[in-house]
Symmetry: C2
Subunit: 97 residues, 2 copies
Amino acid sequence: MKSNLYEKKAQIFKALSNPVRLEIIDFLADGEKCVCEIVEKLNYEQPHISKSLIKLKEAGLIKDRKEGLNVYYSLKICCMGEFFNCLNKILESESKS
Amino acid sequence: MKSNLYEKKAQIFKALSNPVRLEIIDFLADGEKCVCEIVEKLNYEQPHISKSLIKLKEAGLIKDRKEGLNVYYSLKICCMGEFFNCLNKILESESKS
DNA sequence: TGACAATATTCCAAAAATGGAATACTATAA
DNA sequence: TTATAGTATTCCATTTTTGGAATATTGTCA
């Protein structure tokens, strides 16, 4: 029961434990984007971006919306920003030591 | 430069992407603990706990302090709680849908 | 010094993640 | 209906992670 919760949280962190996926999250913080925009912005192969988006979606971090040929993705959580700021502090203090 | 930052953040998330390590973080939120206390509480093999602690330490999430035979570990970051609460909300909303 | 308790390290096989390449699917427009 | 643009899926080899088992290291005390 409780260990299952740790499993699920671990899944969320796993979805975030990849630089490409973090870059996508960062870009989506700017607002909803379609796959083609993300591909163009991040300069990775389209299948790679698609797989990354699906992983983030499965973790419950982003959601999608279809419109014609395009699929638009956007962030589903709001607490990312604060935690990312905190991580930045950690990384700063490490680079000093 | 910037991509390197994503790499480092991904490393932190990777350290958090494991249920045992999350359980350790949770236990340490209660205050500083020695390895033997963590082993007893979490009921895993001592080498496994040791390796988990080292991974968390390398990610900059916890710190250690030696005292005689014992090594005491404690959290190095304070922003974990808020983010964890946010994750709980995500997991709750998912379990409803 | 020798024995022991607490912790860390190494070794290893199985499982999972990674990312490239090719291909499939789907909605639209001609 | 066919061609095409946008997106998703599958396949695969390589790398990384995982966790158990054995062993090494380190500090303390008699």
